[in-house]
Symmetry: C3
Subunit: 449 residues, 3 copies
Amino acid sequence: MTRRRAALIGLLGLAGPVVIATPAFAQSAEAVDTQTYLDNVFVLLSAVLVIFMQAGFALVEAGLTRAKSVANIMMKNMMDFCAGVLAFFAVGFAFAFGEGNDFIGYKGFFLGDGAFTYGTLSLPVFFVFQVAFAATAATIVSGAMAERTKFKAYFVYSIVISAVIYPIVVHWQWGGGWLYQLSTPFHDFAGSTLVHMTGGVASLMGAMIIGPRIGKYDAEGRPRAILGHNIPFAVLGTFVLLVGWYGFNPGSELAADGAIGGIALNTTLAAAAGAVTAMLTIWAKTKKPDVSMTANGMLAGLVGITAGCAAVSTIGSVIIGAVAGVLVVFSVFFFERIKIDDPVGAISVHGVCGAFGTICVGLFATADAEGFWKQGLFYGGGVDQLVSQIIGVVSVAVFVAVTAGALFLAIKATIGLRVDAAEELEGLDVVEHGAPGYSTEPSLEAAMA
Amino acid sequence: MTRRRAALIGLLGLAGPVVIATPAFAQSAEAVDTQTYLDNVFVLLSAVLVIFMQAGFALVEAGLTRAKSVANIMMKNMMDFCAGVLAFFAVGFAFAFGEGNDFIGYKGFFLGDGAFTYGTLSLPVFFVFQVAFAATAATIVSGAMAERTKFKAYFVYSIVISAVIYPIVVHWQWGGGWLYQLSTPFHDFAGSTLVHMTGGVASLMGAMIIGPRIGKYDAEGRPRAILGHNIPFAVLGTFVLLVGWYGFNPGSELAADGAIGGIALNTTLAAAAGAVTAMLTIWAKTKKPDVSMTANGMLAGLVGITAGCAAVSTIGSVIIGAVAGVLVVFSVFFFERIKIDDPVGAISVHGVCGAFGTICVGLFATADAEGFWKQGLFYGGGVDQLVSQIIGVVSVAVFVAVTAGALFLAIKATIGLRVDAAEELEGLDVVEHGAPGYSTEPSLEAAMA
Amino acid sequence: MTRRRAALIGLLGLAGPVVIATPAFAQSAEAVDTQTYLDNVFVLLSAVLVIFMQAGFALVEAGLTRAKSVANIMMKNMMDFCAGVLAFFAVGFAFAFGEGNDFIGYKGFFLGDGAFTYGTLSLPVFFVFQVAFAATAATIVSGAMAERTKFKAYFVYSIVISAVIYPIVVHWQWGGGWLYQLSTPFHDFAGSTLVHMTGGVASLMGAMIIGPRIGKYDAEGRPRAILGHNIPFAVLGTFVLLVGWYGFNPGSELAADGAIGGIALNTTLAAAAGAVTAMLTIWAKTKKPDVSMTANGMLAGLVGITAGCAAVSTIGSVIIGAVAGVLVVFSVFFFERIKIDDPVGAISVHGVCGAFGTICVGLFATADAEGFWKQGLFYGGGVDQLVSQIIGVVSVAVFVAVTAGALFLAIKATIGLRVDAAEELEGLDVVEHGAPGYSTEPSLEAAMA
């Protein structure tokens, strides 16, 4: 029942925070219940912060794309969560956290017998926290395929990601599967790989298979900028994501113990470093400190630190965030150059920086369990850890690439993946949903006069 | 002092969660204080989430109406809260939770002697939580009467609802009044009836008395669509309301005990189900998955589950949410057809689905106290419970209809309820508040050149 | 280690809440750990709310200014936080909370040895809470200098405020410095002076030195209204700030004890009172209830109560908020008249009302420790307290005026403070950041046709 915790202990010998995190042993029986309630309150409120991230993803995607498909984008982000919740409740949670084999769970459908919970958490609290994560994985893909995907196709693939693809990779590690059982277990504390890179690799497959937006490349194949219609939305969304990440990372401790502060601190430092270095990089490259690239830099830092936030030092966090902020800029230009049109940079932010951050756990983790917020950089994992990190990243990337690729191709061959050109030029709001996202129609009163 | 809790115990014999929720008896004296502080922290943070809902209501209303009155709408939503807080502090809280008779409280004005608190909560924490609820009831009405109501009239009726009408219905149940004292007590855990239907019925009276917006019906009396000006605002507001509901429902447990996880889970499932079925319903009806109707479906699911979130099973929650999502679509069309112009669908979302969800407690409550998050559907209340639910809904609806109706008619006869036609055509922002909500004026610099 | 708490005890003899707030003494050893974890969870979640305020400040500033510089404004607000975090981590926290003398700390750089924490809080949690405050102080200045400041200049002064100026004034009081050591210690519970007035005075110096926006004054020197481009953003931002203030004020208790409810209650009442009186004041003055002035009134009430929220009665809170709401209106007109162009009213909201609220502690603090949420007004501090409050306000104001003034003059003389006139007329987005905040470009598709 405490496989994830056990994984954490096994990984880096984080004895300090773990011991103080097990109240059943450290405290008298009288105090256990209050600690249990506290754990549940903390993780539930963390889940609420993660759910709030849905609004952040919606705003970032809406802000960085054009006005004519803005309602479609908001709708997709509602459905990520809503259809995702029902699908994860029905089957996804069982695949991820149910009893099963090393590859997949197959008990606990509809939260029935065989569903797993963690430590002192009640099953409902654990589920609400995990379903918010599942919705995150699905929503990432929305951005990469924005402005040209059929809503019906989106509805289908979003459910499949939440219900099947994401749960399987989660089972490999957090569900106690084969990645966790490596002799040196894979370490991905809050999901740089399991959540973000999963979303990022699915984004890559989706963007490749659907192709670029009309007008993204000129006749000679040179990329052209398609500006986001609302930078305030994009930055507001970035702030909302930052806020939500304080649920995502500290909440992944799954207990209100002595580790959450250090996790929050590392998260803060990496976010800040990523934004600053992304800004400086784009400033050096284009002579202007671009706003949306800076926002993506903050997100890159956050994605990067998500795997190691409980295992690296403060200086390690700054380095991970800073490098992620540089990486995201070059990655965005790289994918644009190879003609993969990703309107929001999801592949770079979540895929590239997710993989990078996961591997960094093998480089920057410190064994000094009590002092992961201290300064200093310590190579604690050894080569074995680094190898495990690479195995995890590669295996998840391959699995998601194959399954998501097959999914998008199957959708393309059946209901169709992309709207037709005329619809794309008009924008998806009216065509797909029957009403524009912004209405500036001549007033009805004028029409009546 | 524990009347509400007692009501809950009495209602369905929910022995399981209740026993673990009374730390004073279950734990040694040493741990009581920490549990008390935890209860207060949890309810205070829940109150903050409910206060955040004010932003959500403002955004939904603003997004679903026209740009020319957007500043007026934001102003109304500030005043709901601000004037509402002062009025509820002065008298409303005393009417609701002060010592008194079975109909109304009459002690505890300005939180003085005779003010009630609950369980382990300090009076300030209980007040802050309750005042956020009072503001919610008032703000619902704002949407139904949008784009044509005098600000001065709004200011008056908003205060009366927060200070008098809402507190009285609250006293009937949460204040230990006559509804709570029914032989099988009425059960409305977090306020499907007391908060939402109160707002919804007041909305109905307001929208009827003020009449439709100019241009809403053509010369033959056929309804015309008046599109919302900003769907991203409406959906962002819906996400904010979803987030806030995790304070609204779990926080209504008024303690950090073992029940809050199940409440959050049920809330999540109903919201998701409501959005999905509303989308499918409007899709079937109009061939397009309409975005604002889907958002209203999520809200309908949330309103529906609010009464029973601590008493029904997960499957019951999905059913309640799903039916509410269908219901809201037909209800919106119904009110439009009978010429009641409700720009945001407040009557349908809060009134119809609030009544529906409350009655469902009589149909779907399960007596299996430990397992309200288990699958399975259990008719636990019996006919007596169903009768009590209907008594509650009908009595509150009649009381609010009569008092809110009298209020609107009195305002109409004195200071006036509606702006004149020229002002309505121009929009309320400049006329009522002196400045537009959006300024795109030719730049001052150009004017100077 | 408990200097701030000691200051609080020493100040007003607040024995009641303080005793119950020291679990290490009041409870058995068994319960201590859970109380410690609860304290840390509460302060960490409070920090998250304060971090969310960055989004609120960004939205208020963006909404109250013109569309042509909106991306610049969002960028500045990201950098406040991101550069501020790194600077405060490196040196600011040490200056504020490190071991040192009565004027400044000089140990604990990068959270190393000599860094201070408080009570039961872990150093990371205390740091995350404090860094959010530092970012707040810096972001206030952004609004006052909006629409005409070079981004590079902003980047520099924002870092200096977060890293040096703000930390020094914090050290004087919360770091145990000379203000705290006055025979009757200065009392500024959550920072009306240390945070808000610091930002407000720096705003005043910045706005004076940079001069008014082109077009703000006509040829005869009469002020002209430059309307905000998006009132919904401004009001949404105000709601976000309100929500964040529930972290700012109750979180400043730095423990999850019996005082947090009363602090939240006082915060609520002052916010409400400020909005209502500002609305009534501007309504009386201009015949229209102006929306942005009302929003500023809510913020004025919040700033005003920040110093005394743990020390005054509910009635005291209403009075402080109400007077701040009136004050802010007259102050805004005053600064406009003396040709200091402050686009968002930051000087008035944060500077004037911050000073006012701090001095009010000397007038309205009540010694009735158990009943600070009771009604009643009690002059508890005596003349000595009032004198200490004035000493604190004046000394901080002078220090900030001198240092921030020197900073802005130094920037002006080197890299330059203000964009040139052509750039200002065009707006900062394209000139400074290379892309507009809103893109309504003719579609690329059209261009290709």
